[in-house]
């Protein structure tokens, strides 16, 4: 039977991962698709998954009562969505909505956490990769906060 292993192996986030680790991860993976407008996650809900985006585009949003949804970032092909599954209390902090047909691989957070506890090498490898994503997004957020195109920048 064909598994998701080759797809995961090619995704930039998991590229170069040891075969044994990939084999462990694939047991937590499932194929998912979201139509435009469909939510991948909602603020406050339990973060029991993260997504490896294969195609499409997802808006990470925060909803304000007066302002409606505000998009703070878009995530597309080759990127990942979600690290709340890693950090207690494992709840999403933002909404994520597909803005076009999006195909992804969902990885079960509980399943992965258990495997990472049992295999710290896998845990460390994943954490390094997530740290890299977090660092890039933190830097991008800092630049956004600087409002460099504003009159007072």
């Amino acid at each position: 039977m064909e598994t998701l292993e080759p797809i995961l192996a090619e995704h930039p986030f998991l590229q170069g991962l040891e075969a044994s680790h990939l084999h462990l991860i694939v047991g937590c993976a499932s194929n998912v698709r979201f139509d435009a407008g469909q939510f991948l996650c909602r603020e406050g809900e339990e973060a029991d998954q993260f997504y490896i985006i294969r195609h499409g585009k997802v808006a990470v949003e925060i909803f304000g009562a007066q302002k409606g949804p505000i998009t703070i970032q878009t995530i597309g092909e080759g990127e990942i969505l979600g690290w709340s599954w890693l950090i207690p209390p494992y709840h999403w902090h933002f909404d994520a909505r597909a803005i076009e047909l999006t195909r992804a691989i969902a990885l079960d957070g509980k399943c992965l956490r258990t495997k990472c506890e049992n295999d710290h090498d896998l845990g460390y490898e994943l954490l390094k990769r997530f740290s890299n994503v977090m660092e890039q997004r933190l830097e991008a957020t800092r630049l956004q906060l600087l409002d460099v195109y504003g009159n007072n920048a």
Binding site: Q136, L143, D147, V148, Y149, N151
Partner: protein, 285 residues
């Protein structure tokens, strides 16, 4: 008939503004506008190279340096895009068709459009930084077959701040040009990218070993753009930046725009990154 460029090169006084008449003023965004000017002193054309700037003199208000944003191949009309932020540019925005303006120029260095023949080109523009890069893009597209991939990465503050929107849409429809636009923030009805322009660089389709990058925008944006380009593997000598300082005389006399050993007005505004990298992060200058 002599052009302004020739006049300047042939000893005409570079401090003397030439009279130009406003042909058209178009509001691009709420604070940004484009002026189309025609010579009013018998000159038939105004030759310039992509990346150069002029000193525009609003009579009674003052003089400011503004990059040329039109097509170098269409030298009959002089085009400038700027933001109404100070006394002079606010006065400029109020000019009506037929009114006069003084023009000195063109001044400064240009984008390496000819030098980059055969290479992939990646243009990274932030905010109004797209204006000085537009002449380069016109020139590249005029000889499109001479280059590899041509990629435009453009970041704006919000969807409402996107400059040259119709033109961007036309460029995006071309099959020989890759255009990616992102904004720093947006309401939920925006279907495009959200995130700073540097986030487009890792995914942009160009060969970093054979690419020439042309970058213009706020200096902080350019610093982070250079980091991302280098992370992709673009050599420092293939990265070109358009710098901005307080330019007054535009010919290297007054020293207002001194940038270490260089003057932005005559040694720039376009610099090769490896030649200024030591100055780039120096606070004192």
């Amino acid at each position: 008939m002599a052009t302004m460029l020739e006049r300047q090169n042939h000893s005409a006084d570079p401090m003397m503004p030439a009279p130009f008449r406003v042909q058209r003023l178009r509001q691009d965004t709420y604070d940004t506008f484009t002026l189309e000017l025609q010579p009013a002193n018998g000159l038939s054309e105004f030759a310039f190279a992509a990346g150069q700037f002029n000193m525009l003199y609003v009579f009674g208000a003052g003089e400011v340096p503004i990059s040329i944003s039109g097509d170098p191949a269409k030298s009959q009309t002089l085009v400038h895009t700027t933001r109404a932020v100070g006394v002079v540019t606010k006065a400029m925005r109020k000019l009506q068709r037929g009114e006069m303006l003084g023009v000195r120029g063109p001044f400064g260095t240009h984008w390496p459009v000819a030098e980059a023949l055969g290479s992939d080109i990646v243009i990274v523009a932030g905010g109004i930084g797209l204006a000085p890069l537009r002449p380069a893009l016109y020139a590249l597209l005029a000889r499109r077959e001479k280059y590899g991939k041509v990629v435009l990465l453009y970041g704006a503050r919000t969807p409402e701040d996107i400059l040259y929107r119709r033109e961007l849409e036309r460029w995006r429809a071309r099959l020989d040009l890759e255009v990616y636009v992102t904004v720093d923030r947006a309401a939920g009805n925006w279907r495009g990218n959200v995130g700073v322009v540097t986030t487009l660089i890792p995914k942009a389709p160009f060969d970093p070993r054979n690419a020439v990058a042309m970058v213009c925008g706020p200096e902080i944006m350019m610093r982070f753009t250079v980091l991302e380009l280098q992370k992709r593997g673009v050599p420092a000598e293939n990265i070109f930046l358009s710098m901005e300082r307080n330019m007054k005389c535009a010919v290297g006399f007054c020293g207002h725009c001194q940038f270490g050993p260089a003057f932005i007005c005559k040694d720039g505004p376009v610099f090769r990154y490896d030649r200024i990298k030591d100055l780039f992060t120096k606070r004192e200058i």
